[in-house]
């Protein structure tokens, strides 16, 4: 995991202050809540988010400043020299308790059926400050439920505490301005502006920053309870930006990806596309065993390690210029190093080619996070290639395959095949080789469409979730990440493949996988989003 934190270069004056009795040294211009947040002090808050502007509306982050009889909100009060602040006095605790109660009086308290339960701001604060019985005896305000905001997000207005984080996100970060708060007072509701849907490439960030269960992700809702999930940090492999992420998983598989704060790369956000990168890791879309295509049919099922050992002879006997290696930008630097040195140094073959799936869009950038190069480690691959002084042209590969010069072709295929539109085209090309050794984490139904197959060995690979390594992003930033979990324990990393192919001993640990995540086990979202309920109050505005 990268631990890169960029410090603001401009020198700022430091101020002395005291928060809850702890003497602190904070940057001039910091608000009290920033100072507390950066110094791991607990403070209740809903509307404040470090990546958004200050709204100051939840009124929960009350602090007492010595010398001021009125409680102040920490999010909009700047620290001044010598300030003595606390949020532990009886006065503050009472104010916070009431602030929480105001949030809860019209809240449906439907935690047992709410997706946010277990990671909900209201629950957390209630355990911290509440644990009382509500005095609200009047009927609760009714609002809209199951509002279909767009392709990715569902809104439950009764759970909403109107912190306006999502509205500010679409105004300030995605700059798509779909959301607004409609109506006044306790009838106010979040909604999309007339004729608009919450449909942008970053829409699911609104679900992350929603402190309650008002906004839920259509992809994740009702799939798992938050407390049945473990999480681990990794790097998104969706594009060359390399956002820091957290993946949530259990023995049934991976369920979601969320951004993790990384000031150097992605701030607090990630794109919706990146959140789908867990899907190709789950067992349902994986290649589990090694197979061979020989004599016009697929067969010879075997374990990956055994299949690789069977190839040792080929690598021993084949001539260097009859061998070639194709690499994509989807593996780690360590794996590139292993396989490239195996080819270049051990086999003395310089026939190593870069399969670039997005030559025309490689430099595209949407201004926020999404980049046109849909590979996490193109830079890493290019660095390893140039280190071994390999410069080849793709056309050379095509010519040599056409002329039959290349007999044994090793291809390390992409993990995320959804961004490889040229996959079938390339498989057609590769199948011209006498023996194609195709390493892939994805099971490829595309093989069915290739009519010119001669002799193919497919070997299952591990995905980025199942190995440790380094990705080098578009800017040349090397980010290390650790293995999260094992999904297909029989699969190999590219380094392991290289080691085995060299004939070295490698103990492969076979763990009986508990990963059961297959499509049969997945339940469909059973709540029907009735068209009637879609943003009704927005479209009927003014008719009441």
């Amino acid at each position: 995991m990268s631990e890169i934190i960029t410090e603001n270069k401009t020198e700022k004056k430091m101020l002395n202050c005291k928060i809850n009795g702890v003497a602190l040294f904070v940057k001039e211009g910091s608000t009290i809540i920033q100072a507390m947040y950066e110094n791991q002090q607990k403070i209740a808050h809903y509307c404040w988010h470090p990546g958004l502007s200050i709204a100051g509306v939840c009124r929960l982050c009350m602090v007492e400043v010595t010398g001021n009889p009125r409680l102040q909100i920490a999010c909009n009060t700047q620290v001044i020299e010598g300030m003595d602040i606390n949020n532990t006095s009886a006065k503050v605790i009472e104010a916070t308790k009431w602030g929480l109660d105001f949030h809860l009086i019209n809240h449906p308290l439907d935690c047992p059926v709410c997706d946010q339960a277990g990671e909900c701001g209201l629950q957390d604060q209630y355990m911290e400050f509440g644990q009382y019985n509500s005095e609200m005896a009047e009927p609760k305000t009714k609002k809209h439920k199951v509002v279909d905001l767009g392709p990715t997000v569902v809104l439950d207005s009764e759970r909403c505490i109107l912190c306006s984080r999502c509205v500010r996100f679409t105004d300030e970060v995605s700059k798509t301005n779909e959301l607004g708060i409609f109506n006044r007072g306790d009838h106010a509701e979040i909604g999309t502006h007339a004729g608009k849907k919450l449909d942008n490439k970053y829409s699911l960030n609104t679900v992350d920053i929603c402190p309650v269960g008002a906004l839920t992700s259509k992809d994740f809702r009702f799939r798992q309870r938050a407390w049945y999930l473990k999480d681990a940090e990794t790097i998104c492999n969706g594009c060359s930006t390399g956002c820091s992420t957290k993946v949530y998983f259990n023995k049934e598989g991976l369920f979601r990806v969320k951004p993790k704060h990384n000031a150097a790369v992605n701030g607090y956000w990630m794109c919706d596309e990146g959140r789908n990168t867990y899907k190709f890791v789950n067992k349902e879309s994986r290649l589990l065993k090694s197979y061979q295509f020989k004599n016009n049919s697929w067969g010879f099922e075997s374990m990956a390690g055994a299949a690789t050992r069977n190839l040792i002879n080929i690598f021993k006997t084949a001539k260097a210029d009859e061998m070639a290696l194709v690499l994509t930008g989807q593996q780690t630097v360590e794996e590139y190093e292993a396989i490239v040195s195996f080819f270049a140094d051990h086999l003395k073959s310089k026939n190593i080619f870069h399969w670039n799936n997005n030559e025309s869009t490689v430099n595209d950038f949407d201004g926020l996070l999404i980049r046109g190069d849909k590979n996490p480690n193109t830079k890493g691959l290019l660095q390893v290639l140039s280190k071994h002084q390999i410069s080849t042209k793709w056309t050379d590969l095509e010519n040599q395959l056409a002329s039959g010069k290349i007999k044994n072709l090793v291809v390390v295929g992409p993990e995320n095949i959804s961004v490889y539109n040229d996959l079938e085209l390339k498989l057609n090309l590769f199948s011209k080789a006498e023996h194609l050794i195709y390493l892939s984490s994805a099971s490829l139904p595309q093989w069915e469409n290739i009519k010119t197959l001669k002799y193919v060995t497919v070997i299952p690979l591990k995905t980025y979730i199942e190995k440790s390594g380094t990705f080098i992003n578009y800017a040349g930033l090397a980010q290390k990440f650790n293995k999260v979990t094992t999904v297909v324990s029989e699969a190999l990393t590219v380094s392991e493949f290289a080691q085995l192919a060299k004939g070295e001993e490698l103990k492969i640990e076979y763990v009986v996988s508990e990963n059961l995540m297959t499509s049969e086990h997945q339940r469909a979202d059973q709540v029907v989003l009735e068209h009637r309920k879609k943003n009704e109050f927005v479209f009927n505005r003014g008719q009441f």
């Binding site: 509306v57 009124r59 104010a95 602030g99 105001f102 019209n106 005095e135 109050f537």
Partner: protein
Amino acid sequence: MSASEINTSANEIKYLSEFYHLPEFKTLEGYKKNGGYIQLPKALKMQPQEIIDLVKASGLRGRGGAGFATGMKWGFLPKNNEPRYLLCNADEGEPGTFKDRMMMEKAPHQLVEGMIISGFAIGSKKSYIYVRGEYSDSINALEVAIAEAYKAGFLGRNILGSGFDHDMDVYRGAGAYICGEETGMISSLEGLKGQPKLKPPFPAIQGYLKKPTIVNNVETLAAVKYILRDGAAGYRKYGTEKSAGTKLFSLSGNIVKPGNYEVPLGFSLKDMIYGLGGGTKPGKKLKAVIPGGSSAPVLTADEAERANLDYENLAQMGTMLGSGAIIVIDDSKCMVECLANLMHFYHHESCGQCTPCREGTGWLDKITTSILAGRGRLSDIELLLKVADNMKGKTICALSDAAALPVLSFVSKFRDEFEFYVREGKSKVKGVVYKTPSYQSDHSKLGAH
């Protein structure tokens, strides 16, 4: 109160409203005939800072409700050439207040002249008058007056050859109470939802369109020209040391002669009610007075008879002068019903931004309505106080306080009526239970309001 105790010698001082009885005062000609646009050329020859100092010395305080010293407010503007705006707050949404309306309808030029002078003093080249949407007559009168002023060269480029440019426009509000709050008004004027803005930054530093902005009430701006005419000492002839000048009061409720009355600050509330207002109707006794618009804590009859109409005295009595709307309540009125009415108003008008106000106003409304319907619990009375207490001083603007203060004062001063209502399920005063008000059934309806 016997007739002998009533001070009939207490009279209005018609300072601002001297010529309001003349229909011609509305026109440019009539206004000029009666002393209009004499101060403007004088002012344009002065140094702006001189005018600000003069206003400071006069002790003029904001007439919109908060009573903040006008000269000091102007002094908060940054001392540079950044463009700045002068906004006139004519939203007049505080229940019980109708003085600005009269001023705009009877003497639009008085406001226009006051604004040009004030604009010159603070260096603003553009001003807006934000008028409450329902005030069609005021808007028409102002638009005519502004057009006349342009024609006469009092507005536009190089006013009266002084080199000072000033443009003025009328902006029609859409009827939200919250748009009378200065930052709410600025949001509305910017075309945004009428919601108060977080302070700091204060409008004088960053207001309309993020530029330095001064927001003053109609009456405040109209008074500026009189300060120029009479000097600071002349203005201070009326009123008290800390509450200088005269003020228009809107007298309404259970009173024989409701209407607007101009009196010097420090005037006795008793004289206002019994002298100018003619007292309560025959056979009725004074029970309570809300002295400064619906947000001001209520006074009992006894307190009201001791009170003076100035900022300090009313603050001492635990209430406030506010916008100067005096609402008189006689003994035929049920205080529970009055409070429920107010709570419904604040529930309806909360902008919904800050949680304590958004949820609290609704909660208070629901509790008072359920008491009114005979469903109250004894614990509800304490709950009203607790909820109100925790809404006070916890939000961006003062609407939350405006809803909380009446609750605290009504319940603590007329607790017997509330307890009776809860215990007996009917009004102590009227002996009946109210039918569920029509708006109460709306709570269950989606999207009501």
